[in-house]
């Protein structure tokens, strides 16, 4: 398969997945470019051990998580932001929230949920993105995360519990 064919087939998948992680169009565009650059670089090394879709999903997840880490580092080291870091971490407010797939009437509720999801550990975040936003079954999502369906089920359960704690804490503020 050529890069162009792969791009045509998976561009929307990658772009929407990146949006689910970053909730920001510019970041999602950057991630989509990075993913296909990585696909191009590794096209010859790709062994058909995994499905192409699974492989692209994994690259997209890793690039999205890298982007979030970079964003977090930037925020952490910003001299002026440093003073209000604690506030930003507990408040459920996303300054860069710009998701074109969210309707105006759902914006506030979903922004609140995403703020909670963003505070979860990486693997729990990925479990929620794949199972709830991508609407995959445990069987489909497990190989992407290199887990067994059973392990993914318990990871998702922990993610739900943690998210509940985060959201209830925010309501208590």
């Amino acid at each position: 398969m050529t890069l162009e064919q792969l791009y045509k087939e998976y561009k929307n998948l990658v772009f929407n997945l990146a949006l689910s992680y970053t909730q920001n169009v510019e970041d999602a565009e950057e991630i989509t470019q990075d993913v296909f650059l990585s696909v191009y670089d590794n096209l010859n090394n790709f062994k058909q051990e995994a499905e192409v879709k699974t492989w692209i999903y994994r690259i997209a997840i890793n690039k999205s998580l890298d982007c979030l880490k970079a964003r977090h580092r930037k925020k952490r080291w910003g001299i002026f932001n440093a003073m209000r870091l604690d506030d930003d971490d507990t408040q459920l407010h996303l300054p860069n929230f710009n998701h074109p797939g969210i309707l105006m009437e759902n914006q506030e509720a979903l922004q609140r949920i995403f703020s909670g999801i963003n505070q979860l550990p990486e693997n729990q975040k990925t479990a929620i993105v794949l199972l709830k936003i991508e609407e995959m079954s445990n069987k489909e999502a497990a190989p992407i995360m290199k887990l067994t369906p059973k392990a993914l089920e318990s990871l998702f359960y922990r993610a739900k519990q943690n998210l509940q704690k985060i959201l209830s804490q925010s309501e208590g503020l």
Binding site: L3, E4, Y7, K11, N12, V14, F15, N16, L19, S20, E29, T32, Q33, F36, L37, Y40, H99, P100, G101, I102, L103, N106, A109, L110, I113, I128, K132, I133, E135, K160, L163, Q164, L167
Partner: protein, 93 residues
């Protein structure tokens, strides 16, 4: 009981994520991907250049080692000549 109801509530909250619509990736992204691939290719040094540089470096290293070896050998001989007096009758002249 409380656990079950909160679990249902959480499921309800997470089900709101299904309201997110899928959007199309902008068309210009592919052009940008291709531009980035070309830019990366330009930046990459060809293998031949790297090989030539590596051979030159190794050659230089070997020459340097040889020079140092020669120099230290000559130096050692000079030091020995200074330490061991030469067998001549210079003092008695």
């Amino acid at each position: 009981m409380k656990n079950t109801s909160s679990n249902i509530e959480m499921d309800h909250i997470l089900n709101q994520l299904k309201n997110i619509r899928k959007v199309d990736a902008p068309d210009y992204l592919y052009t940008q991907v291709i531009a980035r691939i070309k830019a990366t290719k330009k930046r990459r040094i060809p293998l031949a250049w790297t090989s030539v540089a590596a051979i030159l470096f190794i050659g230089l290293l070997i020459t340097e080692i040889k020079i140092i070896k020669n120099w230290s050998h000559n130096n050692r001989t000079e030091v020995l000549e200074e330490l061991v007096p030469s067998a001549n009758n210079f003092l008695y002249k």
